[in-house]
Assembly symmetry: C2
Amino acid sequence: MPATATDPQTSRTRSWWGWGYTDAHPDDAECIATGALLPGTLARPLPIPRVADLPIGRPAATPPASLAHLVTADPQARAAHAMGKAYRDVIRALRGRPGRIPDLVARPTRDQDVADLLDWAGEHGVAVIPFGGGSSVVGGVEYRGEAHHAVLSLDLTSMGRVLEIDTAARSALIQAGALGPALEAQLRPHGLTLRHFPQSFEFSTLGGWLATRAGGHYATVHTHIDDFVQSLRVITPAGAGTSWRLPASGAGPSPDRFFLGSEGTLGVITEAWMRLRERPRHKASASVAFADFHRALDAVRAIAQSDLAPANCRLLDPGEALLSGASHEGSTVLVLGFESATSPVDARLTAAVDLARAHGGRGEAAPADRDSPPDAAVGAWRSAFLRMPYLRDGLARMGAVVETFETAATWGAVPALIDAVRTEVGAAAAKATGHPATVNCRLTHVYPDGAAPYFTVAVAGRPGDEVEIWDDIKAVATEVLHRHRATITHHHAVGRDHRPGYDLQRPDPFARALRAAKDALDPHRILNPGVLLD
Amino acid sequence: MPATATDPQTSRTRSWWGWGYTDAHPDDAECIATGALLPGTLARPLPIPRVADLPIGRPAATPPASLAHLVTADPQARAAHAMGKAYRDVIRALRGRPGRIPDLVARPTRDQDVADLLDWAGEHGVAVIPFGGGSSVVGGVEYRGEAHHAVLSLDLTSMGRVLEIDTAARSALIQAGALGPALEAQLRPHGLTLRHFPQSFEFSTLGGWLATRAGGHYATVHTHIDDFVQSLRVITPAGAGTSWRLPASGAGPSPDRFFLGSEGTLGVITEAWMRLRERPRHKASASVAFADFHRALDAVRAIAQSDLAPANCRLLDPGEALLSGASHEGSTVLVLGFESATSPVDARLTAAVDLARAHGGRGEAAPADRDSPPDAAVGAWRSAFLRMPYLRDGLARMGAVVETFETAATWGAVPALIDAVRTEVGAAAAKATGHPATVNCRLTHVYPDGAAPYFTVAVAGRPGDEVEIWDDIKAVATEVLHRHRATITHHHAVGRDHRPGYDLQRPDPFARALRAAKDALDPHRILNPGVLLD
């Protein structure tokens, strides 16, 4: 099995320790320039870590000959599968303190391979960590603890094809290991699109989106990947099953909804029939500036409670707007986008901008012609959005603590929640480091009954203590979210990092049901141990 | 506890054996006139059954003094809780062969009552059948078998209040026992509505809708009650729990989605925070006639795959259109309705009618003014829709076999499915009875990826064999649905009648998970035995 980290689609090299492609990483000069924006960071960046310096020993398990062609013990592959891509993971790599490195990496190419690997792992007590693009930011793809003598990372990306397209039902059967760009490339010739564009789009897979209930492209109505699932195939240690392709059903609790969000703890999703869209032919976008953040919240609520259904409806607080170049005047900025394959969207954009102006916004609808450049603030924001994780890693190299977290709450709770996070998390970050901290906020998705705030924290760390500092800050964030009855995660999964918050949020009868299901489907407790459940 | 069947809201008397209010039942003359439309029915209606003729003995269990005020053994109450309101139930009552009559009927008024009743029933091995409005048409509220020495019907309708309204989040905390009209009456002063209007609206409860994943008012986008749930409170024999009020969450599998559709087998839903709408201020409707049913299917698909999102999009085949008075010319009729609280809907209606005309439809958009009368075909259909179950009971009294069943399938499967049901179920009905059978079809809900066909079967029965005849017809229907990979139920639940089809549809890993959850939450196996699971 090849050990290269080169992406076969792009011929670019994926970083084993940081975000994305190595050729897109900020160089030392950019790291220093970015670090200069955050008082107290290092003078020079931490060196880029090397696989050769990692404590990678002989694997503690050996697969049988029948599976050997699927499995590698190559150090580069094992290093690249040791952790996800949270700040916590990046700084651990930079500080030479990675999580437990898996003994083996398997790359199955068909369902039977997955079943065989699970059988072998179950017999030998080997932990299995399902792995898609490896972009988890919640400790979802690493092993913690000592209960298993060996760990296998189950990399699904060799199962990345669109197997079948049903144009009448506008849906496709897609293997779970398909990365975003490859998936869309296979749909494009049919004029169809899944239109699921998380920030991790280039480096995450359909299976990862499904297993974590990822938030997607649409800011309103169908915001999560969940709603686009027509059927799932799941392979569990206790057997495999495929739900029927149905546009809807009322037959018992939804089987698909039970495996969506199960984060590799109940089974391995190997393929799914997904509902697609025609590619949009009509698009229009605009940005609206607000002097007052709380009035902007009211504007967004009015839009969310209308039936205008914007595809994009992101509210950037002044810090976010500044950072992304959407506003240099200290304004709150609302980025609105509409799209449709069937009807012009100009009237909907105008109506949404009118609602925003009625709540104190200043802005106008941009021309709706598809070929015209999008509103400048919209474009600036979009570029910054995709560059952000790379800059985070650059800041991490400068010794900064930089991370995001997100939530969702009902409208009544939102204003006080955002204020409390800013104040309390900011204070905790400053106290833990002795440096001034930045806490920015944006709303990523909005609902008739609430919104999803997304926070970015940045503060210079204390050299060597960055992990502990972030863990302290995150504990305060978790406490604030819990006090305001805001969810521990809106689209970033639970993993291992969010377990304390998840355990508080999850109703006890459902916890009992989930534990019982885990016992029934994964009797040897090999699947992603420590995620969702003990 | 009062034993009356009088509805406290309306002062009208509910029928214990048939649909709805006794004063709305067709009289003998109307029964005879309706029966005359179906060759081979009886000359005179079967007599209305009397509770006094039922084999109601002494209850096999006695509640403790502490629960006595919640429980009755009154024969009238027990008879009214013995079965749902399927044709199968009505004809069993008419033929003096009802299902097992519960020993006791309990009417809890608070959560603690429910918990206490479950505790007592668990200790004494008493089966508990959660009961809302009793409108189940799938054998969901009766006891079958002999495994329990006593049966308690747990009637939730004394818990029917709207407890709290959150206008900012447009949502309300509603007790599960609220019947449709009372629920809407409590929301109306706030300008809000749940807008969930199943055919059973007057005689079904929020808890019943949630436990069965009921299909609702909207023909597109958010078609099931599932999407309007913000949080649930569930009381199980193993403890109670409430999910957080959240507009969205990605934290693990959805707890609410696991209890939605659980049909009283995992716990008793006692209250829910529900997402509401503002009452619509803009409405417009139209009907479009088609000479060809299959071209009409294409038209409906085009509308479902647009982003026009009609609230109503019912396609009536010629038989349905004739029966409801929507068309007397043998046409297929598409009934379209649009509504909005925020924006005029004329343009969307016009665009939908244009799409229909592009596929061979003949029709025009009706005036969109709210105060103008709706399109005549729309009005005719709506009246017939609400009267239908009463007429079914009248036909049952004439010895007819009259029942409905519904399904959903992807677009590619829909035309052949409908043709096969018409042919094969019609042939089975004719063969079983020796009489000509009618099988009509309508689409009730449509999706970008498929549609929900709803079938009505009518044929004269053989006196005394009606139950067996219907069971034979239904077995053929189930086989046809299964062969076409169409769901056993789109919005009528599984109950006991749909178990064979459900067992075929449910993926095995989910069946294992569900059985394990049942063992964990209902260890004494008292909750709705035989529904969903053995």
